[in-house]
């Protein structure tokens, strides 16, 4: 402790003498011991070690301060040779700087001495190489350092090294306003051939729109004429073009990769350590925003190559520089170039002064601009996108033009991007819709299949009368003649189409509840009709497909998946519409060999019930006549289906009780002729082909010794056990169905369920 006290003394004296150090020194000292005291109180053992390392730290700190004091006092030329004091202090500074970095004050002292010309060049260069900030660099030190350049006391190589240091450390300078004021000074240094590449880089980092002036443009163009096509000049010029296209024009060659010499290399490792240390707080390095040419990968005629336009500022304001009226200043000169938009926070800060890119198609690759599109209500945005996308789709479609066939991959990628954008914006593009209507009749059902079918799911909700001839008919043709997997993917995308429409409807309901936003001029009946037509269409193709594919389980899964959305339309999407599946779907599912389908059907019927009950209750509560009432046909159909299901699965009376005209009711005489024993219960939950597997497993577990597999043992109490067993096997749909529908049936008609349960 004593030693520590002693160690403090020189510091204090130092502090008195050099007020410039005071800020960070006080910080060091007051925080240092305090935490130590706290620790010593808690952990006695560690105290000693801690104080030892602290001592070491303090002593190096002392050395550093001594060194800094030494350098600060340098007023005249000091040679390096045989100057042990200088060498010692230099070594100290290098050591500590590389380990921990230097404080802003320390940097200030060293920068001053390095550029003052008092020291030998080798010393200057060693100092500059170890100027690594611990946190930030004060802008004022940079400004005073630059002022040394004006005096011209330091050599060319030192100036060059300083510029490289400035470029490498640019992001660590705390403010840049005063540095911007020095723009003209740096610009003048361009004439120095050696410094030019680095000055260009620095100017590139400093340039703002207001820095671009006609005389500077002229100077740069002259310089380029003198020096030739130097990449650093090209880069600076293209930035000038970005800000002021009305003053300068340049097209960068396609091959160019790097524009600036690497300035960071000397400090790279050190910078990385600082970045790691200040994680999150230090700014990310400024990205180059040069618009390079698109690589022309192959020889194709102009404009026949699929290129998403690059995001570039709208240059279509040629009057900007000439007629400077107030409106212009407000609208244009303040605008934020889209090329500089990289982060979401930038978007939020510049939302009021952001301009859309010159080619709207470029937003497809820029999620930030897609966010922005969502905030702006401007018809022209959509119209520009509409024309661009419509033409691109038409020109690149691989089955319109024979020439395009070899570029299928590119077209696929494009369709993928369009689809992703639609998902992002949660709405379909009309140009896509028209493209589908035009192209589907010519489509072979194979080329770009996943992409095309996904686009189908984003067709905007519109009157079905136009969809029917352009979408449904060609799609149905392909559907019936293509493979099982194609059928399933079509059903999948139609399900998503339905969900997108329903989601859109829910969103509209939300907006209508907000009186400020005027609802779109849509009628509910139009919407209900379109949705109903789509469901009918899917019902129709599903019925046919099941027959064509011999009731394939895989297909049935996708069909029932569609109806899982349909059965919940009323409660989940608040749309007064409930449509039952056609018998061509219902009966194959009910008599399916697969427990998955049966379980799915049970769940769907349970949801239908919940929706219908809710609708009925709402009708009773709101005594006013509702605009939309479910037709009695829906209830009737539901009841017919439920009779058939309960008859099948529960009361073993399917062949008698089914009253659906297309149902499975059979004459007892006919049944007799089949000579099947116990015909009546052949579809109940024990004997149903989808469930017999479970029944067998249940019997084996309940009566391990009985090998006869007597299904008739499952009755009474065991019937309930068996049910529990089925539920445990994951047949949750069956559980929901039985618990909701059977109990009700058993209450209403005791005899029906009584028969079985006894």
């Amino acid at each position: 402790m004593q030693q520590r006290e002693n160690a403090k003394n020189p510091k204090q004296t130092l502090q008195v003498r050099h007020s410039s150090f005071s800020a960070w020194q006080i910080g060091e000292r007051t925080t240092g011991p305090k935490t130590l005291d706290l620790k010593s109180a808690q952990k006695h053992e560690k105290e000693k070690q801690q104080s030892a390392s602290d001592q070491a730290g303090n002593s190096t700190q002392d050395h550093l301060e001594q060194a800094l004091t030494y350098f600060e006092r340098v007023k005249d030329y000091i040679p390096l040779k045989k100057n042990e004091v200088l060498q010692k202090h230099l070594a100290t500074v290098e050591n500590i700087a590389l380990q921990r970095g230097l404080s802003p004050e320390g940097l200030d002292v060293l920068l001053n001495v390095a550029l003052s010309g008092h020291l030998a060049d080798t010393v200057n260069s060693r100092i500059l190489k170890c100027l690594i900030p611990a946190s930030v660099i004060a802008e004022s030190s940079v400004v005073s350092a630059v002022s040394w350049l004006c005096v011209g006391k330091c050599s060319g190589s030192t100036q060059l090294l300083f510029l490289r240091w400035l470029i490498a450390m640019f992001d660590f300078i705390d403010h840049k306003e005063k540095l911007h004021a020095l723009y003209g000074f740096f610009f003048c240094s361009l004439q120095d051939e050696k410094l030019c590449p680095y000055v260009c880089h620095l100017l590139y980092l400093l340039t703002r729109r207001e820095s671009v002036k006609p005389f500077r443009v002229r100077r740069l163009v002259d310089l380029q004429a003198k020096m030739g096509m130097q990449p650093h000049l090209q880069a600076l010029l293209s930035l000038y073009k970005l800000f002021c296209p009305e003053l300068v024009s340049i097209t960068l060659p396609a091959k160019m990769k790097t524009y600036f010499k690497n300035s960071e290399s000397l400090w790279k490792a050190a910078i990385n350590t600082i970045r790691r240390r200040n994680q999150g707080t230090s700014p990310t390095s400024q990205q180059l925003i040069l618009g390079t040419c698109h690589p022309q990968s192959r020889k194709r005629k102009w404009n026949t190559q699929l290129i998403l336009p690059a995001c570039s500022t709208n240059t279509n304001n040629p009057t900007r520089s000439k007629e400077i009226n107030h409106a212009d200043i407000l609208s244009h000169s303040e605008s934020f170039p889209v090329e500089q938009l990289h982060t979401f926070s930038q978007l939020l800060q510049n939302l009021h002064r952001l301009e859309f890119p010159s080619q709207m198609g470029s937003v497809l690759r820029n999620s930030l601009l897609l966010h922005y599109i969502n905030c702006v209500k401007d018809e022209s945005i959509y119209l520009r996108l509409y024309y661009w996308m419509g033409q691109t789709l038409q020109e690149e479609c691989t089955w319109y033009k024979l020439d395009n066939q070899q570029y299928e991959e590119e077209f696929k990628d494009f369709l993928d991007i369009v689809y992703k954008t639609e998902c992002f914006l949660q709405e379909g593009f009309s140009s896509c819709e028209e493209f589908l209507y035009k192209s589907l009749p010519l489509w072979d059902g194979f080329c770009c299949r996943p992409q095309i079918l996904r686009l189908v799911s984003w067709i905007p909700l519109s009157s079905f009368s136009e969809m029917k001839p352009h979408l449904c008919e060609p799609l149905a043709q392909l559907f019936f003649t293509s493979s099982l997997y194609f059928k399933c993917s079509v059903l999948e995308s139609l399900k998503e189409l339905l969900q997108n429409w329903l989601n859109w409807h829910v969103m509209q309901l939300d907006m209508e509840s907000d009186p400020k936003i005027s609802p779109l001029n849509t009628t509910l009946s139009g919407l209900v009709n379109s949705v109903a037509e789509l469901i009918h269409f899917v019902g129709w193709i599903s019925t046919v497909a099941l027959r064509l594919e011999n009731n394939a389980t895989f297909l049935l899964y996708f069909i029932l998946d569609f109806y899982e959305t349909v059965c919940d339309v009323y409660l989940k999407y608040n749309l007064p519409l409930l449509l039952m599946p056609p018998p061509g779907v219902f009966y194959p599912a009910l008599l399916s060999m697969d427990s998955v389908s049966l379980n799915q059907l049970c769940y769907i019927m349970y949801r239908y019930r919940t929706n219908l009950v809710a609708a009925k209750e709402n009708e009773l509560i709101k005594k006013t006549i509702l605009q939309f009432k479910f037709s009695s046909q829906t209830y009737q159909e539901y009841n017919q289906y439920i009779m058939a299901m309960v008859g099948c699965l529960w009361t073993s009376s399917a062949f008698q009780k089914d009253i659906h005209p297309q149902g499975i009711r059979l004459d007892p005489e006919v049944l007799k002729k089949t000579r099947v024993q116990e015909v009546r219960n052949s579809f109940n939950i024990v004997h149903h082909p989808a469930l017999t597997g479970y029944a067998i497993l249940f019997l084996q577990q309940a009566w391990p010794k009985d090998k006869t597999l007597n299904f008739n043992l499952i009755k009474g109490r065991r019937w309930n056990w068996y049910l529990e067993y089925l539920y445990m096997q994951g047949l949750q749909g069956l559980k929901l169905f039985i618990e909701s529908s059977i109990n009700r049936v058993s209450q209403v008609s005791q005899t029906k369920s009584g028969n079985v349960q006894v």
Partner: protein, 372 residues
């Protein structure tokens, strides 16, 4: 020809084994002119979008066009096919007797006729920098290359049509004389004749100049086109002409009154299925062709699809009588008359200033149907 296509389509259907649910527009071969050929002859089945309520945010403008770019079954031959009085005869003469490559252009965003000079400056600099990549150019400097944008007066079908724009690229003359003229190396022009359907349906910010014609090296077309695409967010696509539309042109142009016939009416057919394409040229004396057309046309000033079909069928049967070749089984690729000549690749040469507007009206219609 229609019959033949139907037969071809039917045989294609049989091969693919699809059910016979097809409609005519379902089975167009992809190479026969692309989408503009869709739904040909079935205009009555076209769905009109005008009164349809859209359930989509964003595009609130009503779609006035019919879907699938159906071409009309009836076309009116414009009565006022004369150029307007303020037309500059020198400039009009410049447009004639040159081979132009056709493009369709989507409406241009924020194009302003008041800024043509400024556009010339910017485009000059752009062309200069594109020609020498990597070298910066100060806008407005003397660059040895000069682009001039100017309006083509008098080139209008209706009063609503936007003024046509001429773009020319000129190289500074290498000759040392004071008054040595710059050499025009490339020219192109935008126009939209009787394109009211489109221009009335787009907001004010957009300028409809849907037809673009270029003459000169394609590299220049690419540079100028790219600049327009970048600056006005429009889209250029090549405008090809389907055999059906070529037949329309053959009929319509044959029917035009011309004081003196300069060339024979010639139809070029290409025979498919042969590795080396075989072209059949069918030349008719223009007066004979006109006489045939006069017997076909029922109402003067109006042409119908049936009349066009009948006219072509007559020519085909005449050819068959002599050469035993069914031209209906081949593909019409080029039509040239005294009025103009057109190639299916999208090249056109207009010969008669009197019929300039008439030819451009039809081309504008085709361009608009391609961009909608």
């Amino acid at each position: 020809m229609i019959l033949a296509e139907r037969a071809r389509a039917e045989s294609a259907m049989r091969r693919s084994g699809r059910p016979s649910l097809w409609r005519r527009q379902d089975v167009d071969t992809p190479d026969s002119g692309g989408m503009t050929r869709l739904g040909r002859k079935t205009a009555e089945t076209g769905i009109n979008f005008t009164n349809t309520t859209r359930f989509s945010r964003g595009l609130t403008f009503t779609r006035t066009h019919t879907l699938c770019g159906q071409s009309p079954t009836r076309r009116i031959i414009p009565q006022t096919s004369l150029l307007q009085e303020n037309a500059d005869p020198q400039k009009i003469a410049f447009l004639l007797r040159k081979q132009w490559t056709l493009y369709s252009v989507t409406p241009m965003y924020k194009f302003s006729y008041g800024n043509l000079k400024e556009y010339s400056r910017l485009l000059s600099a752009f062309v200069a920098t594109e020609k020498q990549k990597g070298l910066a150019v100060e806008v407005g400097n003397d660059l040895g290359i000069k682009v001039i944008l100017s309006t083509l007066l008098g080139l209008r079908g209706t009063d609503q049509d936007q003024a046509a724009i001429l773009v020319q690229i000129a190289l500074r003359s290498q000759l040392p004389f004071e008054n040595a003229e710059d050499k025009v190396v490339w020219s192109g022009w935008f126009c939209c004749i009787s394109g009211d359907d489109l221009s009335e349906s787009v907001p004010e910010d957009f300028t409809c100049l849907s037809l673009f014609l270029a003459n000169g090296a394609e590299s220049y077309t690419a540079i100028v086109g790219s600049w327009f695409q970048k600056t006005f967010d429009c889209y250029f696509s090549r405008l090809t002409i389907s055999p059906l539309n070529l037949a329309w042109m053959a009929a319509m142009w044959t029917g035009c009154k011309v004081d003196s016939y300069m060339a024979a009416t010639e139809l070029v057919f290409s025979v498919p299925c042969i590795p080396q394409s075989l072209d059949i040229s069918y030349a008719i004396h223009p007066e004979d062709a006109k006489a045939l057309w006069d017997t076909v046309q029922k109402t003067p000033g109006e042409v119908t699809q049936e009349e066009v079909n009948l006219f072509m069928d007559c020519l085909y049967s005449h050819f068959y009588r002599h050469f035993k070749i069914h031209l209906s089984a081949t593909r019409l690729v080029k039509v040239s008359t005294s009025i103009a000549s057109a190639h299916c690749d999208g090249n056109i040469k207009i010969l008669h200033s009197k019929h300039l507007i008439g030819v451009l009206t039809l081309l504008t219609e085709l361009a608009i149907s391609q961009i909608q």
